[in-house]
Amino acid sequence: MSGSGIRSSKAFATFVENIWSSNPIFVMVLGVCSSLAVTTMLANALVMGLSVTFVLCVSSLLISLVRKLIPEQVRLIVFMLIISTFVITVDLILRILLPDVSKALGPYIGLIITNCNLMGRAEAYAIKNPPGRSVLDSLGTGLGYTLVLLILGFMRELLASGSLFGVVLLRGWTSWNLANIAPGAFFLLASVIIVFNMLKRKKKTAVVTADKPRQR
């Protein structure tokens, strides 16, 4: 009981770490292309984030389940095959269920295949770890990615059209078109990363002063 407790708490620590202190976009700056492209609307950002999370979890689960069968020299091709199969599936499912969002996201759903986070999690974690922990690891990465997309989508939609999820909140808002186009996305992402790093540094110094004897 206590053994499994420790193991699950370790897995849980990875999960939290992937959302926060090694967040795929803030810290590793991976998958930035799609995060800038689809965040003009909050709804699109949410669907994109959830799609990436879904593909991450399912492909990690599958890779982790068959990790002992995968021949080492072709493992990257195997990752690619599994990931692209699920990405195409997600693309088709979105076309069936949410045709409008699917149109708005355009080629970016298909381009999840080239999102470095997917290959990254497969190669760095899923190939070496059991299914449960791999899924938790991927879920953390996916949620971390979604979190950043939502922050950016929230800011961009609010600034560019004064609305959230397509519902106009600020009447008479002067549209700040810069937020809608690519340069604005770069500025906003950079500002968010600055704020994040400031928060992180503050937290670290607080931890250091509180836990001095425990330092290695």
Binding site: V38, T40, V74, I82, T85, T89, L92, K103, G106, P107
Partner: protein, 195 residues
């Protein structure tokens, strides 16, 4: 020894690829079913824009009786002779993928009545703005007796529309799709008029 290892890797890949292919064919089958249902919805939309009421009971008989449908590659042409109207369902390559248009014309007066973008995957914020109503409204009542031009500097001739700024390629593709569709429709109509 190495050969045996490579062979087993190859076998693994072949099996995995086949599994993935089977899985994707199945999902694609589902999607094609849904798409066929949307085909009927498209016909209803065309029927209503022609100025008719859709009656669920008689629609499937009425539509083929009064509208002649012609196909040319990916494009379909719905001619409604009773009111000199036609609907052109056009698909052509854009910058990233196919652009799918639904265009209503009055072929006696050679004007475009209305234009819809049914699907496109152009660059969000740039080319994708061809779906915006403000852009599409420019086509209402547009004279196409010459050819339609989507341009960034209008010379004042008829058949000109303002392009989307920052989306030269998409605007060019759209122009090509529209003109090719109109040409094909005219050639169909001319053939029909002769005998």
């Amino acid at each position: 020894m190495i050969a045996k290892k490579s062979l087993s890797a190859l076998a693994f890949l072949v099996i995995l690829t086949s599994l993935c292919t089977v899985f994707l064919s199945f999902t694609n089958g589902l999607y094609q079913n849904v798409k066929a249902g949307r085909q009927r919805e498209l016909r209803m939309k065309i029927w209503m824009t022609f100025g008719n009421q859709v009656d669920g009971g008689t629609f499937d008989r009425e539509f083929p009786e009064s509208v002649s449908v012609k196909e040319d590659g990916k494009n379909s042409f719905y001619q409604y002779a009773a009111r000199d109207q036609a609907a052109l369902h056009l698909t052509g390559p854009g910058l990233w993928g196919d652009i799918e248009l639904l265009m209503f014309i009055d072929y006696r007066n050679k004007t475009i009545r209305e234009m819809f973008v049914l699907s496109q995957i152009e660059t969000p914020g740039l080319g994708a703005r061809i779906s915006e109503q403000a852009f599409l409204d420019q086509f209402r009542g547009l004279d196409y007796s010459g050819s339609v031009r989507i341009t960034k500097d209008r010379s004042g001739k008829s058949g000109e529309v303002d392009a989307v700024s920052g989306a030269t390629k998409t605007s060019g593709s759209l122009e090509a799709i529209i003109n090719k569709g109109l040409e094909t429709f005219s050639s169909f109509a001319a053939k029909e008029a002769k005998p």
